[in-house]
């Protein structure tokens, strides 16, 4: 047998052995190529053009490279370690290290570029589906037809060639450093030496749990008004992040073995098969994987959190637009409004017009603020709000000394809560007007241009309005102080009306707004965010699942001799398999549960800004759980093979 045959046979044997590695490789190439095809596809211009998605997509493809390459590097370190015996054998029969390096390199080359070839084609067909999904969520009307992009192919090949070069470098260093003896012994040397739990580890364990729990506790208190100033709030956020991440790390490092050790102590040496296989093994393994597990749980919690929140804001795109623009169309001057309504009449579209006069005034709301906020870059005693007369708001009738606020953005309301009643003072150029604040309404009255990002609008009695109008501070007024709202009576005609709005080039003026346009652009923005977070999240999930699986494969091989012993002692295959299932429940279950709980608390904090919505979070969590369970199941199957061959 010459060297070429050796390489070929090795390759064939290894493909069978490393099918998941090959799968992971094909999968990474496929995802990357699909994404890059998308990036270069002419039909994407509409998505990129309308919402400046180009930059976002470019950043995503870089993040994708980062995830994929970390994953491949990691997989490679596991697999090169497993082949150390073979490398040792080659050395023993007199091959030089360079020669071995070339054999491994060539083998990897075939494996790699074979996978790239397959991955490219799978990715190409896959990209059509992806682009359909993207168009669907962003609401872009385009026809999803794809061209095989040579540019995308070249970019994919370059990226993976660079990753290949790095992997070869890693292998070279690995081979170079090892002596023959080391190579034969490598699997055992990486195993952590089993020793007793020290007091130090108990302390670490307790600190870990305390860190996570206190982080959760603070996050649930975050918006309950316990943190008054902005600095305190940011401090609390930093504390949550730090204590949860550090806590997670220490949890894996110490708490797991600490807790398991407590259970084990209580057994007084009398362990059943489940405990033998799960408790004792996980106690030691989880410690050495703590950094990896921390990264996996934190990033997946982040992915789940972001995906849920972006879904919430995606689905609330219409509500946001309604809060921002009270009518279907909004104009700043009567001339433009008339131009528009004339055309509507011509086209037979029924509409309703509302006119609201707006005065911007400084209002002292310091006394009705729930909390003393310091550190904000605005003064509650001089808050510029839009003031309208009660005549413009349906169903509101106020006394002369009363004022009602309306349409206060949810997020801001959580942040700066208002009392139920209190005194406010409107500053004028003449005498200040003291008013009695009677409550908060949620009907939008003026477009977002007047509300400086979600501040409420003050409704006052007609007489007070007149008084203010005569003494208004001209410096505060905007270019237009009247708002003309046009509501289309039939929902089905809104789109047609919007076309007229654009045909008349009314959208080019600052004070002319279309709610329909706002919904479309909100959806496109949030849709793209959701798409990107989802794409990256899925990639991360699958790669991290693969990594956990590889880890378990490794552990299975390392523990094979244990299974031999146990089977000799009289445990059946079934007994062992049951024990392994228990073990995998912990190996995959612990990171899964921690990730889910982390993301729950992250999403919960986000609800203050985005509104409460359980569904998206639950959906994402279920997907996450199902994917992890699949990897857990695969690893049990792998263990089954190991156990069967153990005797």
């Amino acid at each position: 047998m010459n060297i070429n045959q050796l390489i070929f046979r090795n390759l064939v044997k290894n493909i069978k052995h490393y099918y998941l590695y090959v799968f992971a490789l094909v999968f990474s190439v496929c995802l990357y190529f699909a994404f890059v095809t998308l990036q270069y596809d002419p039909s994407m211009d509409s998505v990129e053009g309308t919402i400046k998605g180009g930059a976002a997509i470019r950043v995503t493809s870089i993040l994708l490279i980062v995830i994929v390459s970390i994953f491949l590097f990691y997989a490679n370190t596991i697999f090169i370690k497993r082949r150390s015996k073979e490398i040792g054998l080659f050395q023993l029969i007199g091959m030089t290290k360079e020669r071995i390096f070339w054999i491994i390199g060539l083998e990897n080359f075939l494996l790699y570029f074979g996978s790239i070839f397959i991955g490219t084609f799978v990715g190409f067909s896959f990209s059509k589906l992806i682009i359909l999904v993207l168009f669907k969520v962003t609401g872009v009307k385009g026809i999803a037809k794809l061209h095989f992009s040579e540019q995308a192919l070249v970019q994919t090949i370059i990226v993976f060639a660079v990753i290949y070069a790095f992997i070869m470098l890693m292998n070279y260093i690995f081979i170079k450093r090892q002596t023959i003896l080391n190579l034969f012994r490598v699997t055992s040397s990486t195993e952590e030496r089993v020793k007793k739990i020290s007091v130090f580890e108990i302390i670490i364990g307790i600190i870990g749990i305390t860190g996570i729990v206190s982080g959760y506790y603070v996050s649930s208190k975050l918006f309950e008004g316990d943190f008054q100033s902005m600095t305190e709030l940011f401090g609390a956020m930093a504390f949550i992040l730090g204590s949860v991440i550090l806590g997670t790390y220490l949890f894996y490092k110490g708490s797991v073995s600490f807790l398991f050790n407590l259970v084990r102590k209580s057994k007084n040496g009398y362990l059943n098969i489940n405990e033998v296989l799960s408790l004792s093994s996980i106690m030691f393994k989880m410690k050495s994987n703590s950094l990896l597990l921390t990264i996996i749980t934190t990033v997946s919690a982040l992915a789940i959190g972001l995906l849920s929140l972006s879904y919430i804001s995606y689905s609330s795109a219409e509500k946001q637009a309604e809060e921002g623009i009270p009518a279907n169309f909004s104009f700043g001057t009567s001339k433009e409004a008339d131009l528009f309504t004339d055309q509507l009449t011509k086209n037979g579209i029924a509409y309703k017009e509302t006119t609201v006069n707006i005065i911007m005034a400084d209002i002292n709301i310091g006394k009705i603020l729930e909390a003393e906020l310091s550190g904000l870059n605005f003064d509650p005693n001089m808050t510029t709000l839009a003031v309208v007369s009660e005549n413009n708001v349906k169903g509101v009738d106020l006394e002369e000394d009363e004022t009602l606020f309306t349409n206060y953005a949810d997020a801001l309301e959580k942040f700066m809560a208002l009392k139920d009643s209190g005194e406010v003072i409107i500053e004028t150029t003449d005498q200040p007007i003291p008013l009695h604040y009677v409550g908060l309404n949620d009907v939008p009255v003026v477009p977002y241009l007047y509300t400086s990002g979600g501040m409420p609008t003050a409704i006052v009695d007609e007489k007070v309005y007149e008084q203010l109008n005569n003494n208004k501070n001209d410096e505060l007024q905007l270019a237009q102080s009247t708002y003309f709202g046009i509501d289309i009576k039939k929902n089905s005609e809104v789109e047609k009306a919007n076309d007229i709005f654009h045909d008349l080039k009314l959208d080019e003026k600052d004070f002319n707004l279309s709610r329909y346009d706002m919904i479309v652009s909100n959806k496109a923005n949030m849709g793209l965010t959701m798409f990107i977070v989802g794409f990256l999240g899925l990639t991360f999930l699958i790669t991290s699942g693969c990594i956990l699986y590889f880890k378990q494969m490794d552990e299975g091989e390392e523990e094979k001799h244990n299974y031999t012993i146990l089977r000799k002692l009289g445990y059946t295959k079934g007994d062992l398999l049951k024990g392994i299932q228990g073990k995998q429940l912990f190996s995959f279950g612990i990171p899964l549960v921690i990730g889910l709980v982390h993301s729950y608390f992250a999403v919960q904090s986000g609800w203050f800004f985005f509104g409460t919505d359980w569904t998206p979070m639950l959906i994402v969590m279920v997907v996450y759980t199902v994917l992890y369970s699949i990897f857990g199941l695969l690893s049990v199957l792998y263990y089954k093979k190991v156990i069967n061959s153990a005797l």
Binding site: L566, G570, Y571, T572
Partner: protein, 252 residues
């Protein structure tokens, strides 16, 4: 009669390339006997031990342990059989690294679901007998080879099996630890009336036994009984037989 093997044969490989390892071995062991099997490398002694202990299947022949034939048993029955009737001691200890000494020793009792109290009593007794009680909370990599092998022996004895199989138990030990272990084994053999079948290539280890079976090329070559003679003489007998076995001719 604890163990009765009749004309057992074992061969590896396929029809065209057959390697016969055992060619019709018959062996019987009485209760309370301490028997060792000796032979050169490749003589088939470990294969013999493996088939007798149900870890490997025979190609032909029958093996009865306490009257029940194990050659026809299925995987599950065999496991059942092993956990109740057999104990094992191996050259490389075969302890689980992640369990403490005590947990390792209690494993066979945990499979048979022995009550906790009973398990505790048995552990205390056997661990004291073997002098490893103080090590009970240590992990295998914190103790010496001799201590590991005694732990392994404790695990083999704790569930009072019908027969204990020992595969080169002294192979990895220094001479002091080896003689320590063998003394313990033979005293347990006497006090508990435990039956032990040991494979070894060390004549000194074999001299602790009551009977030595020599095998060569997959067949029983000869047997030596200790009888009334002391260990020193028995050792010399074994040496002589081994010499003949390995082909050294005595010239006159």
């Amino acid at each position: 009669m604890i163990l009765e093997a009749n004309q057992i044969q074992k061969s590896y490989g396929n029809k065209f390339n057959k390697q016969e390892v055992l060619r019709g071995v018959s062996l019987s062991i009485q209760k309370g006997e301490f028997v060792s099997i000796m032979g050169a490398s490749g003589s088939g002694k470990t294969t013999l031990l493996n088939v007798l202990s149900s870890i490997d299947k025979v190609s032909n022949g029958t093996i009865k342990i306490e009257g029940s034939d194990i050659t026809g048993m299925r995987e599950k029955q065999l496991a059942q059989f092993r956990k109740n009737k057999l104990g094992f001691i191996f050259q490389d200890y075969n302890l689980l690294d992640t369990l403490t000494v005590k947990e390792n020793i209690l494993l066979p009792l945990s499979i048979t679901k022995t009550p906790r109290k009973e398990a505790e009593n048995r552990f205390t007794k056997i661990a004291n007998d073997l002098g490893i009680y103080e090590l009970k909370d240590k992990y295998p990599n914190e103790i010496s080879g001799g201590q590991k092998q005694r732990t392994s022996a404790a695990r083999a004895f704790i569930h009072e099996p019908s027969i204990i199989f020992a595969d080169e138990p002294t192979g990895a030990l220094d001479s002091k630890s080896a003689s320590d272990l063998l003394n313990k084994l033979s005293s347990l053999n006497e006090t508990l009336a435990a039956t032990i079948l040991m494979v070894t290539h060390d004549p000194l280890a074999a001299s602790y036994c009551s009977r030595v079976v020599f095998i060569k090329d997959g067949q029983i070559y000869t047997q030596l009984n200790k009888g009334e003679q002391d260990r020193q003489h028995f050792f010399q007998d074994i040496m002589k037989t081994q010499g003949i076995l390995s082909g050294v001719q005595y010239e006159h």
